[in-house]
């Protein structure tokens, strides 16, 4: 039984922390806190600096621009980035989702072409899966690619794509064989965003970040735009989703910071002369918040340890982690708002009267999207019930 990081990883932590202290200027941090288009800050220059260090792709093989290091280094990096509220939107999708998937099923040519720029922090990707009529039922997507000579011609739509307005590439799920049964006949393609025919309509989420509605009108891409096997996209996708679900392992540190700030707030804020934290319900809620955060941390470590041992991400822990995130997150946001009380409705344009810089007002508005990103809370529970417990359909 062991609960400590390898020494090398802890040493690396100091290096990352030092770097962030130096490079994460107040301006960048401010952008992160108040930027209205991205949930997690978008800064290409900062991303390039991380790429130069090789930190975006710590665990990738060296031949594709990776550092060939262990999972603990990656985890340490993620933890420090999240704790520092460092911007990640310019590289996250590319480095954590697209890259690993490509390593798995891309052709050698595709790997050579796409991976090194990702590792250098020079190419930004978006992922387009869901559609207006598909939701989380991805097997029912309607966007079609039709072969025309050496090219594919794409028509259809995608919903809720983040930061596509700043992406170089667009990873999309399209139907390439409409005659096949719904799970078959789906392929993955990569679209250079300079390709004509891609239209974007911006939408904003309640808490103020931009997601795009995307329309394809006779978008022509070359034959090698297909990633992995033709018509096997849905099976490749499972791998991508798995990677997504075992990503963000360092994210608990951001929540821990939120919690610590809330504890301080409860210590310092008085109600009729008595500190809030002396209220028993505040104590109880803070403790439950802490317990859940601790469990997020341990589940992340557990998933990491299985990955490090060469296995795939474990079903039980991975699936259960989704349930934690999707069902308990909302509870703690509500609790934090209750602690703050009347002030929890105040936004950051009234800084003087917005407790904790209006963080919880924004989190409250983001709590729905947070629970639905990458699958609904019900999807997460279904996965645990069907795959982990083997309950009948």
């Amino acid at each position: 039984m062991d609960f400590t990081f390898p020494e090398a990883a802890e040493k690396f932590r100091l290096e990352v922390r030092e770097f962030l202290k130096r490079e994460l200027t107040p301006e960048i941090r401010d952008e992160y806190a108040h930027c209205t288009d991205y949930p997690h800050g978008f800064n290409k220059a900062f991303t390039r600096k991380l790429g130069q260090k090789g930190w975006l792709t710590l665990t990738w093989p060296k031949e594709y621009g990776g550092m060939g290091m262990d999972v603990w280094h990656r985890l340490v990096f993620d933890e420090e980035m999240a704790a520092a509220h460092a911007p990640v939107a310019a590289h996250q999708v590319a480095a954590n989702f697209v890259g690993p998937a490509l390593i798995h099923y891309g052709t050698e040519e595709q790997k050579k072409k796409y991976l090194p720029p990702i590792a250098r922090g020079e190419s930004t990707w978006s992922v387009g899966m869901t559609e207006a009529n598909a939701g989380t039922d991805l097997a029912s997507i309607e966007t079609r690619a039709v072969r025309d000579g050496d090219e594919w011609v794409i028509n259809g739509n995608k919903m809720y794509t983040e930061h596509l307005q700043d992406s170089d590439y667009y990873w999309v799920l399209v139907r390439t064989d409409p005659s096949a049964e719904r799970h078959r006949g789906i392929s993955i393609m990569v679209l250079d965003m300079k390709t004509p025919g891609i239209q974007m309509l911006p939408l904003w989420t309640m808490d103020g970040y931009r997601v795009n509605q995307v329309y394809f009108e006779d978008v022509r891409v070359p034959a090698d735009a297909v990633l992995g096997e033709l018509n096997r996209g849905f099976y490749h996708l499972a791998m991508t989703l798995n990677t997504m679900r075992s990503a963000g392992l360092g994210g608990w540190t951001e929540t821990r910071r939120d919690l610590e700030d809330l504890v301080l707030y409860a210590k310092e804020t008085k109600v009729n002369g008595r500190p809030l934290i002396e209220d028993d319900w505040v104590q109880n809620g803070l403790a439950e918040f802490m317990i859940h955060n601790q469990i997020s941390r341990l589940l992340a470590y557990r998933v990491a340890s299985m990955l490090e041992n060469g296995g795939p991400a474990p079903d039980r822990e991975t699936a259960v982690r989704q349930v934690w995130t999707k069902t308990y997150g909302q509870l703690h946001v509500k609790f934090a708002c209750d602690v703050i009380g009347m002030g929890s409705q105040v936004g950051h344009y009234s800084p003087k009267f917005a407790p904790l810089a209006a963080r919880w007002e924004r989190r409250y508005m983001g709590s729905i999207a947070g629970a639905h990103n990458g699958g609904t809370p019900e999807n997460a529970l279904n996965t645990v019930a069907l795959r982990v417990l083997g309950l009948p359909r």
């Binding site: 009729n272 009347m342 105040v346 936004g347 639905h372």
Partner: protein, 380 residues
């Protein structure tokens, strides 16, 4: 015992729904969020003409002579429609305050103007501590010649920017008894209004008072606070009724959406997990609505309603909050995108929850009252 709206009240409710359907919809609500005034003056005029501003004001002062249970029934519809207007601030809070505290002369002067909609009055009670307890009134009133000068910060004051007169709670000394309600013209020196950025974008204001001169005291110079408790109680119940109406709308939206939206080849409303969510929501709303009605009834007939009011506000706020959260979840992506109807209710629910006492605060009151009443039963 019928536990529901009387026939007259049912007519009022039906008429209100019909009228509101013609003058307000989600697009208008959203537009008014960004509007400087925050409501449509033409609609407001109609609202006043319908007699809603004067609904609880006796006929002798130009009102309709209704009671708080009538106003609660009306506000189920107002809450449901999310109508942006100073109706609650002026027609409920200010009207009740003037009725409870004002001298006969003040009532004769102020109430007809309020009832007709000629003037808008706004009560300025809460401060940055956000409490409705007496200790929260820190604004100082100091004698100055024959009058008073007020200094302090009032927060969360809805529609203060369109008020013709502010009714400001301030204290001239220690103790609850030293709190009085001052009439202040918002245009005098020493009053500064700034809009507050709120999740509901509902035109709440910061009112900074820096030696602002009061025109007069509303009613007595001492003892106003205790008379004001009845105002808080009635206002809380009317606001709770609004929450019930809004919660019902959240439920409708969720049910409708879940019947239409197909996933995995079935309408999502056929999935048991979502069915049970909605079943819990309707359960909470049904229960809370009865609590609101009972509180309104007791206040209207003058029975002790302290327990019932606290229960009503807590239950209604919780029901609305949950209905709005579950409604958004059921809508999935369509529930968190700006521009969706559901998203509006989600944001407005937060304001409804914290105004006039957070559910937590009312629950403390419930237990305090229970503890006061609890006596060993005779046959124990």
């Amino acid at each position: 015992m019928d536990l529901g709206p009387s026939e007259t009240q049912q007519v009022l409710k039906r008429t209100a729904r019909e009228f509101l359907q013609t003058v307000v919809n989600p697009a208008i609500v959203r537009q008014m969020e960004e509007d400087r005034i925050g409501f449509d003056p033409a609609v407001w005029k109609q609202v006043c003409e319908l007699g809603w501003t004067g609904l609880m004001i006796p006929e002798e002062y130009g009102g309709q002579g209704g009671d708080v249970s009538d106003m609660a029934i009306l506000f189920e519809e107002v809450g449901r429609s999310l109508l942006p207007s100073p109706l609650f601030a002026s027609g409920v809070e200010a009207a009740l305050t003037i009725l409870a505290l004002g001298s006969e002369e003040q009532k004769r002067d102020l109430l007809p103007k309020l009832a007709s909609g000629e003037k808008i009055f706004v009560v300025a009670l809460t401060e940055p501590t956000g409490t409705y307890d007496a200790w929260g009134v820190e604004t100082r009133a100091e004698r100055s010649g024959n009058g008073w000068k007020l200094t302090g910060t009032k927060l969360y004051i809805s529609y203060a920017h369109v008020a013709d007169l502010l009714i400001v709670a301030a204290r001239s000394g220690e103790g609850d008894d030293a709190i009085a309600f001052f009439l202040v013209d918002p245009k005098v020196n020493g009053v500064k209004l700034t809009i507050l950025d709120t999740i509901g974008k509902d035109h709440q204001y910061i009112v900074e008072l820096d030696g602002a001169e009061a025109e007069a005291v509303l009613g007595p110079e001492r003892g106003g606070w205790s008379a004001f408790q009845d105002v808080l109680a009635k206002a809380a119940v009317v606001h709770s009724a609004a929450s019930i109406g809004a919660a019902e709308r959240c439920l409708e939206l969720a049910v409708d959406y879940s019947k239409q939206r197909v996933q995995f080849g079935r309408p999502i409303g056929s999935f048991q997990a979502l069915q049970h969510k909605m079943a819990r929501v309707v359960t909470e709303i049904t229960g809370a609505q009865l609590c609101v009605y009972e509180a309104a009834y007791r206040l209207a007939v003058g029975q002790d309603a302290r327990l019932e009011v606290a229960i009503a506000k807590a239950a209604a706020s919780d029901a609305y909050t949950n209905a709005s959260i579950e409604g958004c979840h059921i809508h999935g992506g369509a529930g968190f995108i700006r521009g969706s109807e559901m998203e509006l209710y989600f944001r407005k629910a937060k304001g409804a929850e914290v105004i006039l006492g957070h559910p937590r605060w009312h629950k403390k009151r419930v237990t305090a009252l229970l503890a006061e009443m609890a006596q060993p039963a005779e046959h124990h």
